[in-house]
């Protein structure tokens, strides 16, 4: 059952490529795989944590103030992650910059809180958090891998192809757009092919 949920989070309801949520960090911090991994893990933590809490109190939060309540709960988790990073991973914290506090407005977390955690029990919400978070993290790493290799000739900070002069465009903003466009196009192509072969 968990494997099924993971598959849903990574493939079927992949937040970046299927739901088009959480795009800001997907383009802004995917210049290196280490940053992408760091952000991915942070988001998994915040998403799972807030899903669990929101699901546990879903029966007591009045409908009219639910959004501010969700935002407060999510912001609390984000602040905890930010403080933990400053204490134990300050280099990563500096690299990710304002995108750590910006996790609070990552559309994925609020969307999941609104559409899943507020309607399902704690266990299901927790698994959903992990699954969607994993999907987000893996997508980030995929984008970052392409951009770091092509744009900086590095992977995890180590040179990949000695002597290859990297294409700077992938390391700056436009490259993010192009990389995601290319990955999206590949995914669409495969999806259309599968649909056509099914007919």
């Amino acid at each position: 059952m968990i494997a099924e949920e993971l598959k849903r989070g990574v493939v079927g309801e992949n937040p970046i490529f299927a739901l088009a949520l959480g795009l800001c960090p997907a383009l802004a911090i995917t210049t290196s795989v280490t940053n992408a991994l760091g952000m991915g893990v942070a988001v998994i933590f915040v998403l799972t944590g807030s899903n669990i809490i929101i699901s546990s109190v879903r029966k007591w939060i009045p409908d009219k103030v639910r959004i501010p309540c969700y935002i407060t709960i999510i912001a609390t988790f984000v602040t905890v992650v930010d403080l933990w990073m400053k204490a134990h991973a300050p280099v990563l914290n500096r690299q990710l910059g304002i995108f750590v506090p910006l996790i609070v407005v990552n559309c994925i977390i609020l969307a999941r809180a609104e559409s899943y955690a507020s309607q399902n029990n704690v266990r299901k919400s927790a698994i959903d958090g992990i699954a969607i978070g994993a999907g987000f993290a893996l997508s980030l790493v995929a984008i970052a891998a392409v951009r770091e290799v092509l744009g900086n000739n590095r992977l995890f900070g180590l040179t990949v192809i000695p002597g290859f002069r990297p294409m700077l465009v992938f390391a700056v903003a436009p490259g993010g757009f192009f990389t995601v466009a290319a990955l999206l196009a590949i995914i669409n192509y495969l999806r259309l092919k599968k649909e056509r072969s099914r007919q």
């Binding site: 009045p62 103030v65 040179t159």
Partner: protein
């Protein structure tokens, strides 16, 4: 009316819990965050001195207008480090420069910069000789040194510096490198002359005067 009270109470309870959790995390992490800041600063300064140097922070007790450190080995002073900053291309660059007692640069460490990635940001580019293929065999080389800052080693601050916009330092043959150091020349990052000039100007406007002041105070 009662609905408003219900809504307000719900919101208030959530905020109170949030406040408690955040306050708790802050107090548990506070010490480590402070310790990290101090450790990072010490590490940055120690990188501009040769290894094994004892570093004294002269914070506040110095006659100089900027923050500086004295490096000692046994009882001898072997050098000084200065905290510099200058306006770069797209923001302030903060860096530390260490000089020996003869006024020659021993090392430079960039603390923070927000220059253009791929251009000015290359002042921090690690001189990574390790690639994916030999990293696991020989271990990962992680001392944080960069070619741009390395080329300043041996430059004298008692003479004016000059910038060459021709070939970048790593591609120069060793003989030319030695010539550059002798003639107080550094090579600019291609396409990032502003950032290069910012670093050089930052040194020139502060370090010679500070070095002279220290030598003067010693006499």
């Amino acid at each position: 009316m009662s609905e408003i009270i219900k809504l307000a109470v719900a919101l208030a309870v959530v905020c109170i819990f949030s406040g408690i959790v955040i306050a708790f995390s802050h107090s548990s992490f506070e010490q480590q965050i402070e310790a990290q800041k101090l450790r990072e600063e010490k590490e940055a300064v120690s990188q501009v001195f040769p290894s094994g140097t004892r570093i004294l922070d002269t914070a506040g007790s110095a006659p100089l207008p900027i923050r500086y450190w004295i490096g000692r080995k046994e009882t001898k002073t072997i050098g000084y480090a200065f905290a510099l900053e200058n306006q770069g291309h797209s923001g302030i660059i903060r860096y530390i420069v260490g000089i020996d007692t003869l006024g020659r640069i021993m090392g430079m460490k960039i603390l923070s910069q927000s220059e253009t990635p791929g251009l000015g940001a290359r002042i921090e580019e690690p001189a990574s000789e390790k690639s994916l293929w030999n990293a696991f065999g020989g271990g990962v080389h992680k001392d944080g040194r960069t070619w741009f800052t390395e080329q300043f080693n041996g430059i004298s601050v008692s003479k004016p510096l000059s910038i060459s916009s021709a070939v970048e330092w790593p591609s120069l043959p060793d003989t030319i490198k030695m010539e550059f150091t002798g003639s107080n020349t550094v090579s600019a990052i291609t396409g990032a002359t502003v950032s290069t000039r910012a670093i050089v100007a930052g040194i020139e406007k502060t370090v010679p005067a500070c070095y002279a002041a220290i030598r003067g105070a010693q006499r």
